[in-house]
Amino acid sequence: MNAIIKPTSAADWDVARVRRDFPILDQEVHGHPLAYLDNAATTQKPRSVIEAMDQYYRRDNANVHRGVHALAERATTEFEAARESVRRFINAASTREIVFVRGTTEAINLVASSFGQGLREGDEVILTAMEHHANIVPWQLLRERSGVVLRVLPITPEGELDLEALPGLFSARTRLLALTHVSNALGTINPVRHIVAMAHEHGVPVLLDGAQAVPHMRVDVQALDCDFYAFSGHKLFGPTGIGVLYGRELLLQAMPPYQGGGEMIRMVSFEKTTFAGLPYRFEAGTPDIAGAIGLGRAIEYLEKLDWDAATVYEHRLLEYATDRLKDIPGLRVIGEARDKVALVSFVMDDVHPHDMGTILDHSGLAVRAGHHCAMPVMTFYQVPATSRAAMAFYNTAEEIDRLAAALRHARELLA
């Protein structure tokens, strides 16, 4: 009995056509067509993104917000248009709330550093047991600087947050709840709207790490009512080196600068400096202009897709992959939350994930093997590492079939 239907190119989601937008997918690796299943590490870029960045350097390159010449004008216009694209994409109220950073990691470090300056010894920050190191270590650095206390919301064996334990973690000293929207190691989609509401009942603002969420679902920061939202361009089919911190304007207004330098000032003398308004106060130095333009173009690409159809297709891919992998002897799926993005983390008896990575690579299958920068999650499941097949809307059921066959081969070879 098998109720899972193999996802195919349907009228509503023409995967073959979508794949043609991503030039990199059309290549062979070790004599096999590339099956890129490492999308949680980074996603591939559509042609329009690559061309936009190429065009910028060929035609428009200049520093932003400085010169009055034609190129500076073009570069600034495009850079700020990208900010507007980001604002529209996550439905922020204002572009003043959109801070360009290097990526999710820098976004969280910015909050830990700047918002963190207002925290005192004994103040508390709540994290969860499924965080990426990027949402653990900045808070530990803050703990070292100012003596804040970190509290950790546990997870269940299925890989869901133990929400029953959450109310007990709030105290009069809780200053922030920082958690991931979607787990990079498990694929779990957390009920963040509900969690934000709970936190706000206690007067606690919430930071969401959205790195793994934005590639899979439409995010509306006003509907979520979150206070900070962080994500990376390169996981959203855009370039590396650019990311976004969304911050509620009232909060950002009250926060001190993160780094000092050009761009973030209004007036400088050796006696006193006044800082620029939002969002520039948090953007010291020349930004990654080409990166921002590339991210803007990635968002424009995504906005042209039928997002509902993509979501349905990805969900069918997830069901199909889970079903195919579960049948394989010795294979255990890590992370079986009810609500997941198209990501399957797994371990196989007698086959270490690092060997798995090499063997799958030989079949042209790119998967991630390792601890996924989420060592506490690995510790929880008592595994040193997992293999992770992280799908995007351009992956196919045929690629999943090849993955399943290669996994069986790996077991024959090594077990």
């Binding site: 070790h30 086959v351 270490h352 690092h354 060997d355 030989h362 093997a369 040193p384 070879l413 090594l414």
Partner: protein, 149 residues
């Protein structure tokens, strides 16, 4: 899949499935932890050096097939050797795995020659060399741990 078989040779798979000298050593003269943070491989290598000779060597740990087989083969190769001989062996294995133009002939390394295939997999070289760096640390320094970073 022929290339893959160069990496996962029968001898390596045999050591992976049945690691030799995989045990704790309460009377070791040195115990050193080796850690590969990239993939999480962790092992503890024990050596018992008596009068300049490696009288006994063993290991425990978790890791990929390459790291476990390399450690298992190390114990067989090093046991009973003079310390300076063991260090020369480390140098030869290191040369074989990391040099683009190795002066070491795999055939002269006995079973260890089976590790030569790892050279073609730059991402996996550290898996094979972890135990050897750990041995080198045990024999030449006072450090209690080593990482591949």
């Amino acid at each position: 899949m022929s290339e893959l078989n160069d990496l996962y040779q029968e001898l390596i798979l045999d050591h992976k499935r049945h690691p030799r000298n995989f045990r704790d050593m309460p009377d070791a003269t040195r115990a050193v932890d080796g850690h590969n943070p990239l993939c999480g491989d962790q092992l503890r290598l024990f050596v018992k050096v008596v009068e300049g000779r490696v009288e006994d060597v063993s290991f425990i740990g978790v890791g990929c097939a390459i790291s476990m087989a390399s450690a298992s083969m190390l114990t067989e190769a090093v046991k009973g050797r003079a310390v300076d001989e063991a260090q020369r062996l480390f140098a030869d294995v290191h040369d074989l795995l990391t040099s683009d133009d190795p002066h070491t002939d795999p055939a002269e390394l006995g079973n260890l020659g089976a590790l030569a295939g790892v050279h073609e997999y730059p991402m996996r070289v550290k898996c094979a060399t972890l135990c050897w760096h750990t041995l080198d640390t045990a024999l030449t320094s006072d450090a209690d741990s080593v990482t591949t970073e």
